[in-house]
Every structure is written in C-alpha cells, then in structure tokens.
C-alpha cells in the first residue's frame, strides 16, 4: 500500500467483519425473490419475439378465461406518461420512454420487449395463460448495429426522432442518431500535423451485460387504502419509488419501497422493469403479486451496456501525447441515452495534452435499452485510447508507462470539459506501477506478452440522508437509505465510529425503507462510501454537538466549555469533570430527551480516481485461447476505509473487465434475435479462468472528503480491456481492434494476417 499523507485513524483502515455477514453466510438474508407476503400470487410477462414490429392488436380474452388467471395488464392500463426527462442519478430517463420500455404500447423495439403481464395462482398457470394472449404484429426490419443504424437509409426506430445537436437544435431529417455532441480544445488538425508520429485506428466492442447473479424480481401489494408496498432489490429504493410514482401517476408518499438485499447490480439495477407492472397486477387481482425474471429475460429484457465503434487518431510529439481526434459511436439500445458522453469525458483524463477534438453519437438500435454498467462509457473508450497510446509508445520505443508519465494529468490539468482537476493521484499510480515487482520482472517465452493501460472514473456525489440515534447504553443506530451492495454498511459504520470515537461494534447500521428515512440517491457512481460517508460524518458531528450541550447542561457551563476527545467529554472549566460517551448517552432522559443527529446533503467534492493495470498473458496459437498469467491493478482510492472491501471491489472489477476483453458479447442473428441468452453461452469468467488479482492500493486523499475517500468501485473495470489487448499485441505482434478477443477471432486474425 502506498500512502501519501494520512492522519492516524483508529477505525478507518482496519478490517472488521461486516454487520450483515452472518445472515448472508447462513442463507437467512432476504433477497428480491425471497419475500412471500400472505396470499401472494405469481405474475408472468409476455415478451416480443420480434426485434422490430408495430403492435396491431392485443387480444387477452382467451388468456382471461384460462383457469387460475387473476388479472392481466397491458400498456393500456398505464396512464399516459409525461414526455419529460428525469434524472436518476447514474443516467436520466424520458418518462414516456421509461413507460414504453416497461410495457410496449405502439411498437416493440427489441426482442424481449415486454408487452403484457398475467397474474395467476401459480407460476405455471401464469406462464400458460401468457401464451394465450394473441398479439398481432406488423413485422419491421430491425437494425442492430450502430454503423448500420446511422446510415441515412436505415430503418427508423422512431419516425419522429431528430438528432439533438449542440445548442439544442435538431436535425432536419429524422434519424436513429438521437444526439450528437463535440468536445474541443486547441487545434487537433494542426496538432496532428506537427506530431512526430500519428496512429489512426478504429475499434469495435460488443454489447455486454452486467451479469449480476440475482435476476430482477419484484413483489407488490396494492393495499386496500390505496397505498402500494413494493419489495424489490434495487440500487436505489427512492429512485424506484419516484419512477413508479411517475409511471402510475400516483403521489410518491403513497408508495413504500422495502429494499431487499441485492444480488449484484453494477448499474443494471437502477432502472425499473417489473415494479409498476406487479403493482397493477396486484390492483387487478386483489392479491400481492410476485413477478420474477428468468435468466433469458434478464439478458433479453434488461439494460446491458453499449456496443461501440470508436475511431481514434492520435499524435505524439517530444515523447508525449500531443493531439487526439476521436469519434465515438455508442449504441443506446431501443431508446436514447448511451453513456457516450462519459466515454468522451474519461478517455483522455490520464493525459495533459493541448489539442483535442471528440465527436460523439448516441444511436438507437433494436436491442434492449442500455443502462449503466460500472463506469458506464469509460471502458470501451479507454480500450480505444489506451490501445493507441500503447502503439505510439511502442513505435517510438518508449516504455509505455514512461510515455504515460511524460504525458500525465495532474492537479490543475484541464479536462476535456475545460474544468481543471483538483488533487488527483494519476502520477502516484503510474509511479507505483512502474516500480512494482510485476513490472520489473522479465516476461519470457513464445506467445507471452505484457500489457498496461490506465483508466479514470469521476465518482459521484449526489444526495444522501442519514439519522444517527444514540441509545442509553451507548450503542448507536445508524439509519441510512443507501443500498448495501458490497459492504457499505461496514464502510459507513466505520466512518461513524471514527467520527464518534467509539468502537465499531457499538454501531448498528440499518438500511431503511422509503417511509423511514429521507431521500437517498442510488448506490451507483461509486458514491455511497463517499457521499453517504460525508453524511455520516456530518451526522456524527451533529451528535457530538448535541452531546456537548447535554454535558454543558449537567456541568452548568456553556457548550463551548465542553471538549470531546477520544470518546470522553471534558469540562474546560473544571478538569475533574469528564464523562465518557457511554456515560453521557445514559443521561439522555435527564438532559433533554433522546439524543440523535442527522444530516441531509448534496455531496460535492467527490474526487475522481485513476487506476493503472499490468497484465501478462499467454496466447495459444493453436486454440486461440488467451490465458491470464499474472494481473496487477494499481489504484488511487483516496483513503481505504476497509482495505479488504477495497481490494474486493478492485478484483471484482478487473475480472468483469477480463470477461469483457476475452469472452463476453451479445451475439445476434440477422433478425435481431440474441443467440446466447444463457450463462452457458454468455461466458462469464469462473474461478478457473482467472489468477489471483493483485490489488495495489495507493492513497492520495481526496481533499473534498472529511476522510479523503475517493470512489473505488468503478475505476477497476476501465483499464482491463486495453491492458489485455496490449498484452496480446505484445505476445502475438498483432494489434487487435475488436472485442472480445475470443479464441475464434484470435485464430482468424492470426491466420489471416492483417
């Protein structure tokens, strides 16, 4: 661990066990599909077999007569949604499109698009009845590839959509290009012309899925008093509540979302799919309704991340990156909203260069509407940029990490948006990587190679709200509203323990339902440990202020005459008077009632973070298989609250990146049908496919956070795609520009030459 400058913490940096551990290792923890309210019945969704079709008619009469059927819902049951955009934290949605994505009204835009839903006494009856719904389609030609969709003669997903350009103008012709944008600094043409070396390449990545192991499931009860209770697993219970309220046009306060434990999300469990449908089925059937997806529905009917085509032309001058021109084309899926903007804003973050010109296209295609996936938009852009940087460095015979150091961004460097960086740890990360034993070890043998790449993610701030209640025995309840997706109960309780100078074990963190705590934005954007951590810090300060005034009352002095240090309140006027946190906690009733602190905030100053990865591979030229021999991920995390969970985030992100680089892709036939919608055919890495991932923590504290925390979870998925492609280039002498680097692609390209 490389630590730059850090105060002596007592709890932060230690590795206590998580509060929800026992429940989770014994199988008692309740996840989305687990709750079974009294009288629950089961729903099933009917989905489109076509990738692109107009819905002529839907006839539910036969299904309604099917034995056991208790209710059927179609888009006609939704109130007309407003044509307005709502921010959901990681990504914004147009509410009409959200509603149409949940149940299609006029057109189906991808295979798997939901059309209707049935509730019945058993899952089997619901499924059988759903098959009896008659839908008449006018089948249209699908377009499933970003370049095809951009052509002027492409079939249009929406005949009334015009390209939204910069400055709010729209294109004259309707188009599948939903939005065009550009970023400019300096003069890229001139910069390229004066470069010593220019490399130009085009890169392609496939649509990939978050691959969370828990399929979506929602149970809803439309209660007799008109309130709705929803049990679901989500990255943001409040965002579910807000979306359901908008789609069903009912007041937010009438909806209660009970967040169940969540079996992975990675961005994919921010949008809603099932919740309002389950609620309407419950209204019709008079029973609580459970609606669950199977794995095929997850692949075909939820939001993966974009396939992309990215062109990069980059020039180096005096051993540094000098000028870049890039065009990013991202598939948005069925409705606009790909993360292409984030791709543009992150791809050059590791560099300080003068001349930049980036064009971005957000393009609709007949595939599922994309949603966030870990550092959305950044991995594909980094794959392109970091491959070109590697080629520049190698051609110039400069060590690729040295080349990055020569060009490294630092505090004050202007980003492509024009905003300068605050204190960042890019150089510290690069230096740590350069001197790491992995990088200095030789790599030998035929078809073996080493690659490196860097990556950046902004990290989110947004809204958090917490309440801290001090109990008379000195224990503390920490009530928060952020989904705990991988250990944030622990990381927040640790920050509170640090703030209050009390033992970690004295704190009981609770993730509350939406009736029981103020609004919290999603767990996404690597924001929870950062932003809810800030809220926890402020609420802790609030508790100390309150308790100081209680002590002052007991000692008949003013609160300014009370100090708090190491868990003990001292009277500055009389050094014989002191009370421990626990002793004073017991005095609540005598000094003015229960002691509590709270904080609600919009977090600012969530600092961005960098990672640099080193990977060794071996390519088997006979089978085309790439084996990862060794992997080291260096990352600036600001301050590691719980180093084990920090390492775990990094290791998990890297392995998802390895899957993206080597195997994962949505495979479509010409009719827009996904051919590999199972875990057998959509091949995610297993324990056998990966080595130990060495996570190297660098700590350059974030000046915007009381404990210096930076978001951790997303950065590690950014570098692996390029790092592995660069290693394969080193091993084979061939530059691959298309992902995944599947055995078939390797053999074809190696045999065929370039």
């Amino acid at each position: 661990m490389t630590t730059i400058e850090r105060p002596a913490y007592k709890v932060i940096g230690s590795r206590p066990v998580r509060p929800d551990g026992v429940e989770k290792v014994t199988g008692k923890a309740q996840y989305a599909a687990d709750p079974r309210p009294q009288g629950v019945v089961f729903g099933k969704i009917l989905r489109s077999p076509h990738a692109h079709a107009r819905i002529v008619s839907i006839d539910t009469s036969e299904a309604e007569r099917h034995p056991g059927v208790l209710g059927i819902v179609t888009a006609a049951d939704f109130p007309q949604a407003e044509d307005k955009v709502q921010d959901l934290g990681e990504g914004a949605v147009n509410l009409r499109e959200l509603s149409d994505n949940i149940l299609a009204s006029e057109k189906v835009l991808y295979r798997g698009h939901a059309i209707a839903a049935v509730a019945a006494a058993s899952p089997h009856e619901a499924e059988a009845a759903a098959q009896k719904i008659r839908v008449e389609y006018e089948v249209l030609t699908p377009v499933t590839n970003v370049l095809d969709a951009m052509r002027e003669d492409a079939p249009l997903l929406n005949e009334t959509r015009h390209t939204k350009m910069m400055g709010g103008q729209h294109s004259e012709r309707p188009s599948n290009i939903a939005a065009y944008n550009q970023f400019k600094a300096g003069d890229a043409d001139a910069g390229l012309a004066e470069s010593d070396l220019v490399v130009e390449r085009e890169f392609t990545t496939s649509m990939v899925h978050q691959g969370y192991i828990e399929p979506q499931s929602s149970t809803a009860s439309w209660n007799a008093d008109g309130t709705i209770t929803i049990w679901t697993s989500t990255q943001g219970a409040f965002v579910v509540r807000a979306q359901v309220a908008e789609v069903l046009r009912i007041p937010v306060a009438r909806i209660k979302v009970i967040p169940m434990e969540i079996g992975g999300g990675f961005g994919g469990k921010i949008p809603i799919y099932l919740d309002p449908v389950a609620a309407l089925l419950s209204k019709k059937s008079g029973r609580p309704v459970k609606l669950s997806m199977n794995r095929t529905e997850v692949f075909e009917g939820t939001g993966p991340t974009s396939g992309t085509v990215i062109s990069v032309k980059a020039g180096a001058k005096d051993g540094k990156l000098h000028a870049v021109q890039a065009t990013l084309r991202y598939e948005a899926g069925a409705y606009p909203g790909s993360p292409v903007g984030a791709g543009a804003m992150t791809m050059l973050a590791p560099y300080d260069l003068e001349h930049v010109e980036i064009h971005t296209f957000d393009v609709v295609v007949n595939k599922p509407k994309t949603s966030a996936y870990r550092a959305p938009g950044s991995p594909a852009a980094a794959f392109a940029m970091e491959s070109v940087v590697d080629e520049l460095a190698r051609t110039l015979k400069i060590d690729p990490l040295q080349f990055r150091l020569n060009s490294a961004s630092k505090e004050g460097t202007k980003q492509v948006t024009g905003v300068p960086f605050a204190r960042i740890g890019n150089e510290e990360v690069l230096n740590t990587a350069m001197t790491h034993p992995h990088y200095t070890a030789p790599i030998e043998g035929p078809y073996r190679g080493r690659g490196v790449a860097s990556g950046y993610w902004f990290n989110g701030g947004m809204q958090s709200s917490v309440v801290v209640a001090v109990n008379p025995d000195g224990t503390v309840n920490l009530v928060e509203g952020s989904t705990d997706i991988g250990g944030t109960r622990a990381s927040l309780a640790m920050q509170l323990a640090e703030t209050l100078s009390i033992p970690y074990d004295a704190i009981r963190p609770i993730v509350a339902d939406t009736d029981s705590i103020g609004h919290n934005d999603v767990t996404g954007g690597s924001r929870t440990t950062v932003a809810s951590g800030m809220a926890v810090y402020q609420a802790g300060q609030d508790v100390i202020r309150e308790m100081s005034s209680r002590a002052a009352r007991l000692w008949s002095v003013t609160p300014e005459d009370v100090s708090y240090e190491d868990g003990v309140f001292h009277c500055l006027k009389d050094s014989t008077k002191e009370l421990t946190f626990k002793e004073l906690a017991a005095q609540g009733a005598r000094t003015g009632g229960p002691i509590a602190g709270r904080a609600s905030l919009v977090a600012r100053g969530a600092g961005g973070a960098f990672g640099t990865h080193i990977v060794d591979v071996e390519v088997d030229p006979g089978t085309g298989k790439t084996t990862i021999l060794r992997y080291t991920a260096v990352q600036d995390v600001g301050t590691a609250i719980h180093p084990s969970y920090v390492e775990g985030q990094i290791q998990g992100g890297v392995v998802q990146g390895i899957g993206w680089a080597l195997n994962e892709e949505f495979v479509y036939d010409e009719n827009g049908r996904m051919l590999n919608s199972s875990f057998l055919d959509y091949r995610m890495p297993t324990a056998l496919d990966v080595p130990l991932i060495d996570a190297v923590i660098v700590e350059v504290p974030n000046p915007g956070h009381p404990y210096g925390v930076r978001g951790v979870g997303e950065v590690p998925i950014v570098p692996p795609l390029a790092a592995i492609a660069n290693a394969v280039a080193d091993a084979t002498g061939h530059r691959f520009t298309q992902l995944p680097l599947s055995p078939r692609r390797l053999i074809e390209e190696l045999d065929g030459g370039d």
């Binding site: 014994t26 199988g27 008692k28 192991i213 969540i262 997706i485 250990g487 775990g648 998990g652 991932i693």
Partner: protein
C-alpha cells in the same frame, strides 16, 4: 395433474410434502418449504447458486426434480451451521470478506464444504477447478478461494478429533 407425495430428510429433519411432477427441487425448497437460502441465478445448471448436497453428492437443485428426493438425505445452506455455531467455512467467508452482494455465497459454501469433506488437502488449483461451476460476479474469486484455503485446517482438525 396429480400430486406426488415426497418423504425426505432435509438438514436432519424428516419432511413431507406434495408436489407436481414438473416442479424442480429448487422451486420446492424455496416456494413450498420456505428454505430460500438456495438461490436461483439461472435455473439451468450454469451458476451453482442453488447448490445442495443430495445423498452425499453436490448437485444443482434447479436441475433435480422434487419427486426425485423421495427417501433421500438432503443438506442445504440452512443446515451448514450447527445451531448458532457457524461452520468454519461460514466464518472464513466473513473474516476474509469473501462476499460482496452475497447472492452466490450459499452455493459457494455448500460446494466448498462438499470439496473439503472429501479432499481436505485441496490446493488452490484444485479449489478453483472444483468451484468452476459456481459463478460470482462481484469478488473476482480471489477472496473466495482464500476463504476456502483458510477454512481447510480447521476442518481437518475437526475431522481428526
């Protein structure tokens, strides 16, 4: 459809229930018997989240029919701890931070226990091989493999005692 009568032992207790011939063991455990610790990730044998031990063999309960367990002996994640005493694997998973979201954890623990009970000296390569039927999307497997290695000595000691 006529129901079938099943009598079986689950986690040491005799259990009787009626089931349709087409119902999977996973569905019977979760929907009829209230044992929701076994998870559904894929329902077709490719993720291991539903792992249980049936007559001493590790199986994916989504790929077994409920009627097949008539007369059998079954252990699920709910039967791994001894009352309030966690199994060494459960303890090491917690200590080593081997779970993030935790949805895969019951399957990994049931699978790892089945391995260490027959091969108490399994090394890292063997553990990775054995656990290749269990998918985890959060951890990158590193800490899971470590937790299994860390639990092994205690299990060996318990086996000798």
């Amino acid at each position: 459809m006529s129901k079938h009568h099943v009598i079986t032992r689950i986690n040491g207790e005799q259990v009787e229930f009626l089931t349709d011939p087409g119902t999977s063991l996973l569905s019977a455990l979760r929907d009829q018997l209230g044992l929701t610790g076994s998870k559904e990730g894929c329902n077709n044998g490719n993720c291991g989240a539903c792992n249980v031990v049936l007559n001493g063999e590790l199986v994916n309960s989504c790929c077994v029919l409920a009627v097949e367990i008539n007369g059998a002996e079954l252990t699920t994640i709910e039967g791994v701890a001894d009352g309030d005493n966690l199994h060494p694997l459960q303890q090491s998973f917690i200590n080593d931070a081997a779970l993030q979201c935790g949805i895969c954890t019951p399957g990994f623990i049931v699978a790892a226990k089945a391995l260490l009970e027959r091969e108490p000296d399994a090394d890292e390569a063997r553990i990775r091989h054995w656990l290749a039927g269990n998918l985890c999307r959060c951890t990158g497997y590193d800490k899971i493999v470590q937790a299994v290695l860390d639990a092994a000595p205690e299990m060996r000691a318990a086996a000798r005692a």
